[in-house]
Amino acid sequence: MTNTNTFHQPENSVTASALHLQDVCVSVENTKLAGPINLTVAPGEIFTIMGPSGCGKSSLLAAISGTLSTNFKVSGDIFLGSQSITALPPEDRHIGMLFQDDLLFPHLSVGENLKFGIPAAIKNRNERDALAEKALDDAGLPGYMSRDPATLSGGQRARVAVLRTLLSRPCVLLLDEPFSKLDVELRDKFRQFVFRHVKAHHLPTLLVTHDPDDASATGGEIIQMANTFT
């Protein structure tokens, strides 16, 4: 694992900006689920939100990425640097997200999944292939381009999902308990893999988890969310 930054455009480190949440609240039918939350995540920093299941932390991430279902209400403001992204549709926010499940598209090969993430601005097919191959090499998965995702192990799939997100050149990374479904031995290795890439890409990263080990591994700031229903 040499330079993890090779498949990412270098200028990202120059333009990287922080993620700010300002009085962000998520509610459903007038019941507050989460918030108000105020926080700032600097580029390359991993900010952890801890809380039991049902405390609204996943809804908060969905609110930030813009994928919250329409019967939820979001108030407050979300900034990327100085620009508000609160009103933007999810696809224009450039917020990458990793979930508990890897959610690789089962109808596409590993390579096609990765290329699905690469921006269309890179038009040349060979260049796209090279980028995807390079990413796989760096992740210790050389030669996996044409593999069916279903034939990969859980840890391998998780890594491909990370690569897919990173290849899409996000400005922010949101992690929705991406380690919870992996075995204990794998979990630590995969955590290091993700954190290393976050640092290398200077991504402001928000992690939600209920696992204290995840939180302590980040070395960043931690806030605790209470269960609003209790």
Binding site: S65, T67, P90, M97, F105, L108, K115, F116, P119
Partner: protein, 571 residues
């Protein structure tokens, strides 16, 4: 004696049920096909011919109407299928989860409940040169004092036929897509694609559609086969000189000159070959198209005509909803009309005459329709439940191969095997009887009942049943007291679907009933050419009302039964 008494219960043992069900509904299809093939080669002992020859084929292929007829069949069949599928896919891609999507979703059941032919008749009354739309804008916008002399209904290109099919097939595809969505993690796939920067429609097409498509492939084939071989809608809206092949074949079968039966059989086989070729062609094109789609999806383009598809699909659906509502309304209006002169927008004299004067016939055909519909759906429910319960108890699902078998009668053109069914039922001495009519309806009712019931039945939590057993209940008690009551809602819904399918059957009633069974559908279709709009409207409206009543009951009964059961209330 003992063995004899034990026999029925042995025969009806659960594990024989799938075999019995398949026998019940594949035997007539298979035997019907064979009995239809033989006359095509000159073999029909009933007419004193048992020498094999290719004469009928020569006659068929040299028939002057054949080339144009095949052309019309193929163009209208493909056009209706492609337009309906495209519209349904694009609408869901663009509007998934939005309020207008939810509104459309609610309309699906009633649209699907109404027979094709009833809607086709309504559509004809709506868009004909003397129809409601022209009346609405005449004379102030057109200056006409008589209907323009244009062939809108029976137009030579089959455009109206295509429209009539699209009104029914689009909601059918929508329903199939909705069912597939629940099994494909659509929501999550969309979220991933959106967070990777994909616009909604592009995200849908690249991340969700491939999974959906696999699930709806069989329904697509069924719709394609149906569109290529439909008879009743073609009779009402389709081109007439020459008509689509299915209508031509029916005409030959009905010709007083019995020697036409041979050419008709050859035509029926040609119809089958066209459908098989069309499905094969679709298969081949599909492979190519999905390759292109796949290679496109790794190019990273994040938008695909987002605004255009959004607007066009909404406009398309709204247009269909308007035509649908207009078609129903015009049927209601005509059925209560006494005098309605062109170009008045509304009748000048309203009356109940059309209903009153035909009360006897209406009651009789409605009675037949209801009796056949009830019998067919009840038998179908019993067979399907027995098969599904057998699956549950043996702990394994019938594979996808079984699904192909279920779809088989829906993919084989009706004209291609119903004549054979008629020949056999004459031999078996059950022709023109309740048995043959109900049995023939069952061939089409059973697949739809199976398709609506299998998912809820298979996904029912088995722990309830097992818990009942551990509490000391016998399996049959657990089945009657726990399993079935919990499935009341899907059972009644499947029953309503079966009933609606039965009501809509035109050709099966005609062939199996030997002309002696008049249902509201056969009456409506047969009268549709008569030009007496008041009478036709009454029958067509009745066609629509009967299944709607059953659907309404199927929705409401569970709400009443479960009125004090929070967990079982409908949404």
């Amino acid at each position: 004696m003992k063995t004899f008494r034990a026999l029925p219960s042995k025969v009806f043992r659960l594990r024989y049920m799938p075999a019995i069900t398949l026998l019940v509904f594949l035997t007539p299809v298979g035997a019907g096909l064979i009995s239809s093939v033989l006359p095509a080669f000159g073999y029909l002992p009933a007419l004193g011919r048992s020498d094999f020859s290719g004469e009928a084929w020569g006659q068929l292929l040299h028939h002057p109407a054949i080339p144009a007829s095949i052309f019309t069949t193929i163009t209208t069949g493909f056009a209706a299928t492609i337009i309906s599928l495209g519209l349904a896919l694009f609408f869901v891609a663009a509007w998934y989860g939005s309020p207008s999507y939810k509104k459309t979703r609610k309309m699906l059941a009633p649209v699907l409940a109404i027979p094709h032919s009833a809607l086709a008749i309504g559509l004809a009354f709506l868009i004909a040169p003397s129809g409601w739309i022209v009346r609405a804008i005449t004379p102030w916008a057109t200056g006409w004092d008589r209907p323009p002399d244009v062939a809108i209904i029976h137009d030579p290109y089959g455009l109206t036929l295509i429209l009539g099919l699209v009104i029914k097939e689009t909601p059918y595809f929508l329903l199939m897509i909705l069912a597939a969505l629940d099994q494909t993690q659509a929501e999550k796939r969309l979220t991933v694609a959106r967070t990777l920067g994909y616009k909604p429609i592009s995200a849908w097409i690249k991340a969700v559609q491939p999974a959906i498509y696999k699930q709806i492939r069989l329904p697509i084939f069924a719709v394609l086969a149906f569109s290529l071989s439909v008879v009743d809608v073609s009779l009402i809206l389709g081109p007439s000189a020459p008509p689509p092949l299915s209508v031509l074949v029916l005409r030959w079968f009905n010709d007083p000159d019995l020697s036409y039966r041979f050419m008709a059989s050859a035509g029926a086989m040609l119809q089958l070959m066209i459908v098989i070729a069309a499905i094969s062609l679709w298969f081949v094109v599909e492979v190519g198209v999905s390759r292109i789609f796949r290679s496109r999806s790794s190019m990273g383009k994040r938008h695909f005509f987002e605004t255009e598809i959004k607007l066009a699909s909404k406009a398309g659906i709204n247009f269909l909803v308007m035509l649908f509502s207009g078609s129903l309304l015009v049927l209601v209006t005509w059925s209560f009309t006494w005098r309605w002169r062109f170009p008045d927008f509304l009748p000048s004299v309203w009356s109940f005459h059309s209903w009153q004067n035909n009360l006897h016939n209406l009651a009789e055909s409605a009675g037949t329709t209801i009796a056949v519909g009830l019998a067919g759906s009840i038998i179908a429910i019993i067979l399907v439940v027995a098969c599904l319960e057998n699956e549950k108890q043996r702990g394994k699902n019938a594979g996808s191969g079984a699904l192909w078998l279920v779809y088989l009668p829906l993919m084989i053109p009706q004209v291609s095997f119903l004549f054979g069914v008629q020949v056999i039922s004459i031999k078996a001495n059950i022709d023109s009887s309740w048995v043959s009519v109900i049995w023939t309806h069952l061939l089409f009712v059973l697949p739809y009942v199976f398709l609506s019931l299998s998912d809820p039945y298979r996904s029912q939590d088995n722990r309830f049943f097992n818990l009942a057993l551990t509490l000391g209940s016998t399996p049959s008690r657990a089945f009657w007291r726990i399993r079935l009551p919990l499935l009341l809602r899907p059972l009644l819904f499947a029953f309503a679907v079966g009933f609606a399918v039965s009501v809509a059957q035109y050709l099966p009633t005609l062939f199996a009933g030997g002309g002696r069974f008049a249902t509201v559908t056969t009456e409506a279709v047969n009268l549709s050419a008569s030009g007496n709009r008041r009478i036709v409207a009454v029958y067509a409206l009745l066609q629509a009302i009967l299944p709607l009543i059953v659907f309404a009951a199927a929705m409401r009964i569970p709400n009443f039964v479960f009125r004090n059961r929070q967990a079982l209330k409908g949404s």
